[in-house]
Structures are given as structure tokens and as C-alpha cells.
Subunit: 239 residues, 2 copies
């Protein structure tokens, strides 16, 4: 059973404003619901449209297909919709490296970067306030359970970078080759916006500009921010 008010609540969660207000977010699909449960994220409600799935998910409630369709963001709902409580970050970690995103706008890129942070054991991801919301459904589709294992904060970057004692590295097209850079044991890696790179305001806090050297034709476009993050985190961890 799902009440009209519950449907209204779930629909409202498509907007960031209501996600923040209620402290809830929505994912769709068996795989991602499973990943979040496995990662220990607390479910608020899980709605499914057939009896088999009720067997699989103890918490699930069966609802008519038409109600699920009403709640879904998908043109073709896939039979399972989970509403979860937002993840509370661990407060007192002592991180070695922190990734900072300056205005990353594409949900797929943010999703991939969260998964990369998880892979490379980066515990903190700090985002500018205009970076895409990490509870956006497309971000969640790309991160899967990784979102539960990386602490993500949205802050004023100038304030944050003004206070840190860690060395601040930034990815630029014209920086020093990361292959020959001497990376510190601990630090902050700043990645910029898809079209414009790191903003001038944030750039003031960067102590060292690093680059990924290009081996092909000079007319090649710059690397995508997610693939560049992959390579730089690999360089940080490979030692």
C-alpha cells in the first residue's frame, strides 16, 4: 500500500530542495537498491511491483504498477524504487588526500569521480556549492554503493581552501607533468569545471599546477574531467 501523500513525497524528491528538506533520496533499479543496502545505507521505503521482489527485499512493499509509474523518473520504470535516508558523513577521519571539485556539472562525471574516490581509498570529496547534487538520480546510477563510502560535503571552496594546511594541487592544461611531479604524502587535488577548468577565485589557492602530458596530435581536445581524475588518483596512489 502506498498513500497519496507518500506518492507526493516521492515525486517531490526529484527536486534537490525537497531532498534536503526531508533528508531522503530516491534510486531505481534492483542493482543500485541492492548496492545501497549492502553498503549499509538506511532505507525509508522500498516499493516493488511484483511479489517475487517482495521475497528478495525484506523491507519491500508491493504497490500497483500505476503508482510506481507515478513515482518513477524513468520513461520505463524498472519495477523497483527505493527511498533512502541521506548518508551521514563520518566526522573525524584523518584523510591523507582530499579531492575537491570546482563546479563539476555533469552527473555522470560526478558519479564516476565518487566511484574513483572509493576505489582509490579517498575518504573525502569536497564540492563547490554549484557542483551537481550527489543525490541526483543520474549521479547515483553511476556511483552505485560507492556513495556510502565516500564523505561528500558541499562548501564554500574559498573558505575551505583558505583554512587548510595540506598542500593544494590543481589540474591544469599547462601544469607540470604529473609523471615527474613529486607528490606529497597528503594533499588536496582540485579538479575544475568541464568547460572552463578551475575558476580564478579557486586558482588563487593552488600551490602547484599539474598536468597529464599529451602524446597524440596537438589538436586533441582536453581529457574529460572524470578520466583525468582517474589518471591523477592513480598517480597519487601508485607511489
Amino acid at each position: 500500500m502506498v498513500t497519496k501523500n507518500q506518492i507526493k513525497l516521492v515525486v517531490s524528491l526529484k527536486q534537490k530542495k525537497y531532498r534536503s528538506q526531508h533528508g531522503l533520496f530516491v534510486v531505481e533499479g534492483e542493482k543500485v537498491v541492492n548496492e545501497l543496502l549492502k553498503a549499509g545505507v538506511r532505507p525509508f521505503k522500498i516499493f516493488v511491483d511484483d511479489a517475487d521482489k517482495v521475497q528478495k527485499f525484506r523491507e519491500a512493499e508491493m504497490v500497483p504498477k500505476k503508482d510506481l509509474k507515478q513515482m518513477s523518473s524513468l520513461t520505463h520504470p524498472n519495477g523497483i524504487l527505493g527511498v533512502f535516508y541521506m548518508i551521514e558523513g563520518e566526522g573525524n577521519l584523518n584523510p591523507d588526500w582530499v579531492v575537491v571539485l570546482d563546479s563539476v556539472r555533469d552527473p555522470g562525471n560526478l558519479g564516476t569521480i565518487i566511484r574513483l574516490c572509493d576505489w582509490f581509498g579517498i575518504k573525502y570529496l569536497v564540492c563547490s556549492k554549484d557542483t551537481v547534487d550527489c543525490y541526483n538520480p543520474k549521479v547515483l546510477q553511476a556511483t552505485m554503493g560507492s556513495i556510502a563510502r565516500v564523505n561528500i560535503a558541499y562548501v564554500d571552496l574559498e573558505e575551505y581552501l583558505g583554512k587548510t594546511n595540506l598542500p593544494v594541487y590543481g589540474a591544469y592544461m599547462d601544469g607540470e607533468s604529473v609523471y615527474s611531479s613529486d607528490l606529497a604524502e597528503k594533499g588536496i587535488l582540485v579538479m575544475g569545471n568541464e568547460a572552463n577548468g578551475i575558476s580564478d577565485e579557486v586558482g588563487k589557492f593552488i600551490a602547484k599546477r599539474i598536468s597529464i602530458p599529451q602524446f597524440g596530435s596537438l589538436s586533441t581536445e582536453s581529457l574529460n574531467v572524470a578520466t583525468a581524475t582517474a589518471i591523477l588518483l592513480s598517480e597519487i596512489r601508485r607511489g
Copy 2:
């Protein structure tokens, strides 16, 4: 002016079968049309829906908005549609490294991998016949002009790998760490399917299995094939 037959031709190019038959492919949007022209890809027709754009593209023909909408694959056509001749590969390059894709299905992944090959100066990309078509519109949107600078072939991988003299490396979850692997001067790097990795048939030809070590929680999903390719190509080139 665009004739009914031309509209029919452009619409038919949404299907791979007709793209191969006519040796033509379609892209939409000013940026990608520009990139292809800059990269020297030969245009067959460029259709635009306003006079300003005719100024910008010498080859452009102005057509009514409703005709452009009919030819477009987009819900909201963006005012420019280019039909280009397929790119002919250079035959006699002597490549150092070749990337081989075994059944990569996601257009965004293939697009990103083509752009990475271009960045890292990889001249040959060899794909299994069931890898997504490189002239698929979503692939082209992700590669931009890079498609003109990487030679892409669709072949029977078992036949291809059976004949090569280059050492064959494959990306696996349980291979030797790429950070400590001694990579040859020249070689072939095989990347597998998004869900299943490298198939058993192709696996028989792999001389050395390599992996990207994981630093985070063990429950993390594997890296996406495009980000894994980014890291491995960086390792190959960093020396």
C-alpha cells in the same frame, strides 16, 4: 534545398546497415561538425536552419526547420546536421601500442576510449564485431574530432590476435599490478566487456594479465572500462 530522397537517405543513416551501405554518417551540433571539419573529415552535406550558420560553414545548405527536424535524431534539434563520408584508415602505420576492445557495448565508453587513444597517441583501435559501432551518434558526441585521428577496425579478434607478434596484455580484476609490471615497448592492450570482462575465447590469447590495484574498501565495484583504459594507457605512456 533538400529533396525528399535526401531526407530519406539521412533518416536511413540512423541504422548501421545503411551507414555501411552508403559510407556516410551523421552528427548534430555546431561543435562536433566543426571538430570533424577541422580534423579533415570530408563532408557530404551540411544542413542548417538559419542564415547565420550558412555564413559560418561554407558547405552549408539552408533548409526549413521542419525538414531538419525530420532528419534529426534529437527531440530538440540544434539547428545543424552534418553528413560526412566515413573515415578511411591509414593502412601502413607501424604502431607501438594497439588497443583491442572485446565487446564494449556502451557508446559513451567507446567514445571516451577513442578520445583517450587520441590523447595518448594510440593509432590503432581494434574492436570485436559486437562492439558498438563507432559511427553511432552517441559515440561521435563523446569523441568529437578524435575519431578522425584514430584508425578503428572491426575484426574477428581470435583471428587478429592469433596472427600478431606483439605481446598481448589483458585487463583483469586479478592480474598483476600494472604499477609493478614491466610493460614492453610495443604491445596490445585488451579491454573487456562492461559486465563480463574479457571473454574466454579472447582470453586464450592473453600472455599477461594486468590489474589496477584497489586502495579502498573491498566491496567497491570494479572500475568502469573507460576509466580503467585511461589509467592503463597513462601507465603505458609514462614510461
